[in-house]
């Protein structure tokens, strides 16, 4: 016991209190230096809302007034529809990434955490490699007129990105990734449900997980 008392006296002059606090401080430093913790839950909710709006518009253009799962798939044959879908997809992506960037930057500024750090770079790298490859793969599907597989491919590649990058950010993201992968597989085997799965994955589950993150880490 003698030595531990000396230890405490010694530590007190250096602002460290108990070994419990010291261990907690070590753990927190390890977490903060490896994980990008500024990821904003609010931006997940917004991304989900944009996706739901985009999916609604796409459904209106492609299937209206029929439902996408009772009357088979419509075949994209009009150049006009193709252009609209590309613009819609690009617009949704830019809006979602834009809000994620600004809200995470704001959240980081609140915690005095820099937005660009070794942790955030690793997170973005591990997320965007699969996502970028998925994007190119979707263009290949478009080129081969395999339109019905595009929602499945988007869900699967995004899911892989989330599962891989979860170790560099809020760990719960991993579950969102598995949800996307499951929906992606369903969409791959039942392409009629592609748009529905896409709206659930990119829309509904972004809103659900964004809300969970918000209440868990930002309140």
């Amino acid at each position: 016991m003698r030595f531990s008392i000396i230890y405490f006296e010694f530590q007190s002059t250096f602002k460290m209190k108990t070994p419990e606090e010291e261990l907690a401080s070590i753990k927190s430093m390890m977490e903060r230096s490896t994980r990008f913790l500024s990821l904003s839950g609010l931006s997940g909710i917004l991304a989900g809302i944009y996706s739901l709006a985009a999916a609604g518009l796409a459904w209106y253009w492609i299937y209206f007034p029929k439902s996408s799962w009772s009357d088979g798939t419509a075949i994209l044959s009009f150049r006009d529809l193709l252009n609209r879908m590309l613009l819609l997809g690009l617009g949704t992506l830019i809006a979602a990434v834009g809000s994620a960037y600004f809200l995470s930057k704001k959240k980081g500024a609140g915690n005095a955490q820099p937005f660009w750090s070794p942790a955030s770079k690793r997170f973005l790298q591990s997320l965007f490699l699969p996502v970028a490859l998925g994007g190119f793969f979707c263009f290949a599907l478009l080129h081969e007129s395999a339109f019905e597989l595009i929602p499945a491919a988007m869900l699967l590649f995004y899911g892989i990105g989330l599962v891989q990058s979860a170790q560099f950010t809020l760990g719960k993201i991993k579950n969102l990734g598995f949800t996307q992968l499951l929906l992606g597989l369903i969409a791959a085997f039942f392409p009629d449900f592609g748009l529905l799965c896409w709206s659930l994955g990119f829309g509904l589950f972004h809103v659900i997980y964004g809300t969970l993150m918000y209440f868990r880490y930002e309140r």
């Binding site: 030595f3 010694f10 070994p19 070590i26 230096s33 005095a112 820099p114």
Partner: protein, 102 residues
């Protein structure tokens, strides 16, 4: 208190900042000066002196390189540093166990 538990205590980790620097280098392959500064919220001089201290104890190694023509100083933990840090962690855990027992 036996000599066994005293062995883990390392004076290099007296200081909170040095302890934090070492914690970061335990889980990151390398870490650069400016990222340390941003994460730890300390001044250049303060950070530099503690890094120097750890370097002299041979717990960390300095690697200088250039990133787009700007000098970049990164730090890497040495085997000796990682072992000492692990011993320090074991020492802390033992202290906690002892406090619970008493």
């Amino acid at each position: 208190m036996s000599d066994e538990s005293q062995k883990g205590y390392d004076k290099a980790f007296d200081n909170v900042l040095r302890l934090r620097i070492m914690s970061i280098l335990m889980v990151n392959e390398r870490y650069d000066f400016n990222s340390f500064k941003a994460l730890l919220q300390v001044t250049d001089g303060n950070l530099a002196s503690h890094l120097k201290h750890l370097e002299q104890a041979e717990f960390i190694r300095v690697e200088k390189s250039f990133a787009s023509r700007k000098p970049l100083t990164t730090y890497v933990s040495t085997d000796k540093g990682r072992k000492s840090f692990q011993a320090h962690l074991d020492f802390l855990e033992q202290l906690i166990r002892q406090n619970k027992a008493s």
